[in-house]
Symmetry: C2
Subunit: 144 residues, 2 copies
Amino acid sequence: MSTSADQNEREEGLKFQPKFDASGLVTCVATDAATGDVLMVAHMNDEALRKTIESGEAWYFSRSRNVLWRKGETSGHTQRVVELRLDCDQDAIWIRVEQVGAACHTGRHSCFYRAVRGEGGGPRLSFVDADRMFDPTKVYGKDT
Amino acid sequence: MSTSADQNEREEGLKFQPKFDASGLVTCVATDAATGDVLMVAHMNDEALRKTIESGEAWYFSRSRNVLWRKGETSGHTQRVVELRLDCDQDAIWIRVEQVGAACHTGRHSCFYRAVRGEGGGPRLSFVDADRMFDPTKVYGKDT
């Protein structure tokens, strides 16, 4: 069990001690360094986090495929890390990146291409910044 | 088990069908609508998400306290939602907010007040934008 002193050290200290969850992961948010737009939310395990810090390129851990992956290794749409920060309790990472091409596997620049509004009748979605920058069937060779 | 048709509907459709994890949560990233800075990463359950959409104020679900909470209900540091988006597979939320005061319980504007660099000798942390906007012992009445 963590103590108040542990928490204070984690929040106010300069010691790198990422707090991975029960699956060994931290959440990572990637934003476009130029615009501030959120590009994607994904996960890193210890190895992905260390490779990202050492290489300056974004690495993630895929929960669905259960593998470490370098962003863009299939598509070529890599992310160069301009800055990496961690949050108060060291269980979330924010990277500001220069995105080559598009971040989303659907071909959009960002994974967040739909807005939700709630004026009467329940939540309604609409497309925002949803133009495709590539054809996913050509890049990944399958219909996504 | 979800099919390819389900996935396509979830990614390309305009039907609101958030995908909660085994704990009933989605990840939410809050950014400052003016600067694009990531303020915090937290979680929402179905009720928090719906209250956020309906009220235009950020609601979250605290995993540590196991309760629904309106951001700022203790501190007064509320978040007015300018725009809410969801990602391709509808398991992550991005809200652009107008933050009253500071987002972080430590008193900083953002929870991401430390940068990590990796030039030789392992990861090193440094404070960035780490000035406190309030004294947490005064706002929360305890030493955080």
